[in-house]
């Protein structure tokens, strides 16, 4: 939704008044090439990226596994905040910190702790299995609070949801795909080839900063 002229004017004023706030965004490569190439190198550091996967069986779990495995290949730790304790590890992930939450409130508290800790380069908040009723109760300010935290410590947060939810996300990506029954016996790279990853929203730096 485009901002009103007054808002745009205010943002412009703030950008001129506080030029030091303007920083070049660094990227945190996930190691998973379809996502990294889409984003020009990786997830933006110090901001939230939202991955929207509307279908129930769309390949979201594949994305999750691919990112975790790619991070492992680069010996990078990753935190997975599992909003509904639904993750099924397909193999041993020695560098994965898996936080098995039972509900949204628990997951948000865990995310807050992990982001404030700032030890792990990438945190993934998976809300794909949580009900919309639960997710709608999250106050918008929560996402801005998370954004401020990772802005401070240079962390990276990737959220996975079924619908647009994270108001402070700098980039929103959509994965529209519907798994077929035959995919259960297909090689994973073959399934990934059919994925349609698309950036649906990219907030401009200034808009994002003064949002």
């Amino acid at each position: 939704m485009p901002g009103s002229p007054k808002i745009i004017q205010l943002r412009k004023f703030l950008a001129e008044r506080f030029p030091q706030q303007k920083t070049t965004h660094l990227l945190a490569p996930t190691g998973w090439s379809p996502l990294d190439s889409l984003l020009g190198g990786g997830l933006p550091k110090g901001s939230i990226t939202q991955l929207i996967i509307p279908h129930i069986s769309a390949g979201g779990s594949i994305v999750l596994h691919e990112i975790i495995e790619a991070m492992h290949q680069h010996s990078q730790c990753v935190a997975l905040i599992d909003g509904k304790n639904s993750f099924e590890p397909s193999t041993d992930y020695p560098l994965l910190l898996w936080i098995r939450c039972q509900n949204v409130a628990q997951a948000l508290k865990a995310t807050d702790l992990v982001l404030r800790d700032s030890n792990l380069p990438l945190s993934i908040l998976d809300f794909k299995q949580n009900s919309d009723t639960e997710l709608r109760k999250i106050p918008g300010t929560t996402w801005y609070r998370f954004q401020r935290i990772i802005e401070e410590n240079g962390g990276t947060l990737l959220t996975i949801t079924r619908h647009p939810l994270v108001s402070s996300a700098q980039i929103s990506i959509s994965l529209t795909h519907q798994l077929r029954f035959d995919d259960l016996t297909s090689f994973r790279p073959e399934i990934i080839k059919l994925f349609s990853l698309e950036i649906v929203r990219r907030r401009f730096e200034l808009e994002y900063r003064y949002a």
């Binding site: 069986s57 020695p94 910190l97 702790l113 992990v114 800790d117 030890n119 798994l179």
Partner: protein, 523 residues
């Protein structure tokens, strides 16, 4: 300053040692017993600020020095040590309590703090050991150091005195060509004094500075001998004939000709602090204050031996006799008081006791600084201690089984996982590159499975009904029969089906004995 090669000794002397120990214990107990909450409300200061002020305020110290104070013997009847203000008030060692109070009504009386004395003597030796390895435990509150081969005594000594000051001990140091002269210098130093054989200062000291026996002191005073100089002006042989070996020893010491050989000791390798509270503790704040004081002191001691703290061992004794013992591991050994304090506070904040606390004991386990060779491309943790504190908080939020590294158990039973707590070197774990082909999408599992009712047609599911999903099954594949532990009571047997519903979503159903469950969704 003596040249290198000539004998040189340093004596670190803590004046009124027993009194200082007793006073320090009293201050800690006061901190534990004060009504903190009321002060917080009225003064609007934090608890720690309040107590830090209590200890470090120069006004408080001056006031303490001005107020007569005396230490009583174990029976609490006689005075055994006095501060200057008490001496000026006319109180003498050996006076009874009532006599002392009669001389100075404002007299503050202390009883001996034996455990505190032992702990602070350990502190003195440990800190002195960092200055030179040749140390002698000469007396309570006195440590003699052989510094013949050491340069820059003065600067090192001032640092040592500052460290003692940091642990709450006011000390002074003397440098001399033999231990006796160094001790005499230490007694009159402010805070460091160096004197030589022919120093007039030594000659003017009173005889009492050598602690002669009362019998000998009376004889010498009856002769009109009151200073060391007056004693050494008498012929040594004549003193020997009249006063015997004790007199000769005193004459030698007065003349700075003592040939005492130091008995070197190794300082204790235990690092512990403890306190018994006069009044029981019912709130956490006073305990936290004492914890911080203990950690500051222990950190300083451990620094002097170039080690790090790897474990905190806490013992809380409760009023009902129960003991709470807890060892807290420090993932990345450190001397940082804030990190150690944070780790201990995190535990204490969650601790619930059945009775008030009556004593607190803290011991630390030292460890050598460990070197790690980091791989250039490995993502190590920025702050392991903070990370492990976060882990503890996460475990408190989701349970210990709710956070960690997933590890698969060697079984065919679905959803068999073990959650392992990350270790210190977790972040630089080597990852094996597996070339196993990756097939199919992953499963998002419902834990626990959702009970469903499934209609079969020719042994194939055709309709499913549950709280989560309901509808006609378009296609089903299976059954995939799984079983295990047939040899014991934990026998299990599951039949799994993969099904597609009308909306295109793919689920996994499982039949365990006669019950159907929706166990997950493919995504």
């Amino acid at each position: 300053m003596p040249k290198i090669g000539t004998s040189c000794f340093v004596v670190v002397y803590i004046p009124f040692y027993f009194l200082q120990c007793a006073r320090q214990k009293r201050l800690l107990q006061r901190a534990g017993n004060d009504d903190v909450s009321s002060k917080q409300l009225s003064l609007d200061v934090t608890v720690e600020d309040h107590y830090s002020d209590l200890f470090s305020s120069p006004v408080f110290e001056e006031t303490c020095a001005d107020i007569p104070a005396a230490l009583l013997d174990d029976d609490g009847i006689h005075v055994i040590e006095l501060n200057l203000a008490a001496e000026e008030a006319g109180i003498r060692p050996g006076a009874s309590t009532s006599q002392a109070i009669a001389r100075a009504p404002e007299l503050v009386l202390y009883t001996r703090a034996l455990s505190h004395e032992r702990q602070l003597q350990d502190v003195l030796l440990q800190l002195a050991y960092s200055y030179s390895p040749f140390i002698e435990n000469s007396a309570p509150g006195v440590c003699t150091i052989d510094v013949t081969k050491t340069r820059n005594q003065q600067s090192g000594l001032r640092k040592l005195l500052a460290q003692l000051r940091a642990v709450g001990l006011k000390a002074q140091a003397g440098i001399g060509p033999n231990p006796e002269i160094a001790l005499q210098a230490a007694k009159i130093a402010d805070p460091v004094l160096e004197i030589s054989h022919d120093c007039n200062l030594l000659q003017s000291l009173p005889l009492e500075s050598l602690d002669p026996s009362p019998f000998l002191l009376d004889i010498l005073k009856s002769w009109g001998v009151r200073t060391l100089g007056a004693l050494t002006r008498l012929p040594r042989d004549e003193i020997g004939q009249r006063l015997g070996l004790e007199g000769l020893s005193l004459w030698d010491r007065a003349g700075g000709r003592s040939t005492k050989v130091l008995q070197f000791v190794q300082p204790s390798e235990t690092f512990e602090e403890s306190i018994d509270f006069e009044q029981r503790l019912e709130t956490l704040e006073p305990l936290l204050f004492i914890l911080r004081r203990f950690l500051e002191r222990l950190s300083l001691r451990i620094e002097s031996v170039y080690l790090l703290i790897a474990e905190l061992h806490l013992v809380l004794t409760l009023e009902n006799g129960e003991k709470i013992v807890r060892s807290l591991q420090i993932p990345a050994p450190t001397r940082d008081v804030e990190v150690l304090y944070g780790t201990a506070v995190q535990y204490l904040e969650t601790l619930q006791t059945t009775a008030p606390v009556t004593s607190f004991h803290l011991e630390i386990k030292p460890s050598k600084p460990d070197g790690h060779q980091f791989d250039l491309f490995q993502g190590k943790l920025r702050d392991p201690n903070r990370f492990f504190q976060t882990l503890a908080r996460l475990a408190a939020l989701v349970g210990t089984e709710g956070v960690g590294i997933p590890q698969q158990i060697n079984t065919h039973r679905p959803d068999s996982l073990r959650i392992q707590t990350p270790e210190f070197d977790w972040s630089w774990h080597s990852v094996k590159n597996t070339s196993r082909p990756k097939i199919g999408p992953g499963l998002r599992r419902y834990r626990p499975g959702i009970i469903a009712s499934v209609e079969l047609d020719k042994d194939k599911p055709v309709l499913v009904q549950s709280n989560l999903i309901s509808g006609k099954i378009l296609e089903a594949r299976g059954p995939w029969n799984l079983s295990g532990n047939w040899w014991d009571r934990a026998r299990w047997e599951i039949r799994e089906w993969d099904v597609v519903l009308e909306d295109g979503s793919i689920y996994r159903l499982a039949q365990d004995l006669s019950q159907w469950e929706v166990v997950g969704v493919y995504d």
